[in-house]
């Protein structure tokens, strides 16, 4: 059976051009970039070139790019690093309720360290309101961290406006742009971004490598100590193959961004249009227009997400859901709940995230099999189309206590 990959927000395949340079820097150009001999020098040169390519993708300077092991480390370094370096100035941090756990759990950790965190709500489309950010700023605020685009519903946040506000108020602005970099145009200068997290594997680079952009002059304290790598910001022998791969992926993303966005957003618009027209009792999650080019997210009433994913998988289609059953916890997605969805509607969510390799034929096949799967699950559901109401015993009422 042909397999169809509609889960590009989880990860993407490595571009073969990337894989080639990664392999070359594993097998031939394998030197330690700290060594002074020719092997070391060629590794150092490769890292420098990769840094320039990543900087170019963001319209940053190359000395503003610090390589990390990926998105989670970038978020940790940005939040903890800014918090610790600026705690004499203030101890208040502003973020949103829909951030990735790499940000949310780091904020919870910082609360235990004596910092105060405001978690901003979002509107029904999953968007942070700039006026809420403005209202939350106090004379103790040192950092605002709002993601560029949400990983579940794809909503693109008003980054430039938040950045402008932060700059005016003298507060640092970090954005977790893991989903957006390489998939959507970003200009850190124009958008007033002080720190930005990115990860290679979301745009056809390798897993285990990413970068943190830190605008020149922003005070950040290192959280990992050792050698003087990455100008004392991130100790540890550089992951040269990963970094070179990240650089190559950034270069490709920059040159192919416009054509990729046009291709993917056309497929996405077809999916959203057809699903909303053909399947009743369906809600589109996320913003109708301000969303990532490849993201479509729906809630199908009366059914549960995991059983939907299993049925799609049996047809060869790989997607994801905000259902509790697919997250390993008993609560559905915190993002969907923050947007005001009820638990039962959040349980029935389906996320389809497209990539440059997807085709119209794949989309047509998905649209062909999806309605029958939904109908079959609905026919099996006691929430759908029955009038009988019985007394419900509820041994599950304490289920939140048992989470994880």
């Amino acid at each position: 059976m042909k397999r169809i990959y509609f889960d590009h927000s989880a990860t993407t395949p490595i571009d073969r051009r990337v894989a080639e340079v990664v392999l070359e820097h594993m097998t031939e150009k394998f030197g330690n970039a700290s060594s002074i001999h020719s092997f070391g020098r060629e590794a150092r040169k490769a890292i420098d070139e990769a840094r320039e390519k990543v900087a170019a993708l963001l319209n940053a300077e190359s000395n503003e790019i610090f390589f990390t092991s990926g998105g989670t480390e970038g978020d940790n370094l940005a939040l903890k690093g800014v918090a610790y370096a600026n705690r004499k100035k203030g101890t208040h941090i502003i973020t949103s309720a829909i951030e990735h756990h790499a940000v949310l759990h780091t904020c919870e950790y910082l609360e235990k360290q004596g910092f105060t965190v405001t978690y901003l709500p979002v509107d029904e489309y999953g968007m942070v309101r700039v006026e809420d950010v403005a209202k939350a700023i106090t004379d103790k605020t040192i950092l605002i961290s709002v993601m560029f685009a949400n990983n579940e519903v794809g909503t693109i946040q008003p980054i430039k406006e938040i950045g402008k506000l932060a700059r005016e108020k003298g507060v640092y602005f970090h954005t977790d742009a893991v989903q957006a970099v390489g998939n959507y145009p970003i200009d850190v200068k124009d958008m007033n971004i002080d720190l930005l997290t990115l990860a290679g594997h979301k745009f056809h680079g390798p897993k285990g490598v990413g970068a943190l952009y830190i605008r020149r002059g922003v005070r950040v304290e290192a959280i990992q100590h050792g050698g003087g790598h990455e100008r004392n910001m991130r100790a540890g022998t550089e992951n040269v193959p990963g970094i070179v791969g990240l650089g190559k992926a950034a270069e490709i993303a920059q040159s192919e961004l416009n054509s990729k966005m046009a291709h993917i957003s056309a497929l996405r618009d077809r999916i959203i249009g057809e699903v909303m027209a053909k399947i009743p009792h369906t809600k589109l999650n996320g913003h109708p227009t301000q969303r990532l080019p490849g993201n479509a997210n729906f809630s199908f009433h009366f059914i549960e997400g995991e059983s939907l994913l299993l049925n799609l998988d049996l047809k060869g289609i790989a997607a994801s859901s905000g259902s509790a059953c697919t997250s390993g916890s008993l609560d559905p997605s915190h993002v969907l709940l923050a947007m005001g969805l009820t638990h039962e509607v959040a349980h029935g969510s389906l996320r389809v995230t497209l990539g440059r390799g997807n085709t119209k034929e794949e989309v047509d096949y998905f649209l062909e099999v999806l309605p029958a799967i939904i109908q079959r699950l609905r026919d099996m559901s006691p929430l759908y189309g029955t009038s009988a109401h019985t007394k419900v015993s509820n041994p599950c009422s304490d289920c939140h206590v048992h989470a994880h």
Binding site: S323, H343, H347, V392, C396
Partner: protein, 123 residues
Amino acid sequence: MYTDKVMDHFTNPRNVGEIADANGVGEVGNAKCGDIMRIYLQVENDIIKDVKFKTFGCGAAIATSSMVTEMVKGKTLDEALKISNQAVADALGGLPPAKMHCSNLAADALHEAIKDYISKKGK
């Protein structure tokens, strides 16, 4: 993550639907947790002549519902009351640990349906 037997009952669930003149109906779970199971019984002379289910939930919820209906069809009420959630999971070759709490309630739904039958009969 699921056994072949779970996937078999998930893809080809037995006894899906409703019984119009059911004389015992039981429902457990809640939509907040993501699992609701409803069992319909047709009982004659203390024997389960027919059983059907409707379930909102994950793969494990659907498979356990299907399995419990297969296990009790033709059984006496006493025999059916002895079937536990664990026995249903065992009959499916086991469930992932995370599924044992919220998604493994099919026997509870069955027992609720039997209680419903007994209370109606008593009136």
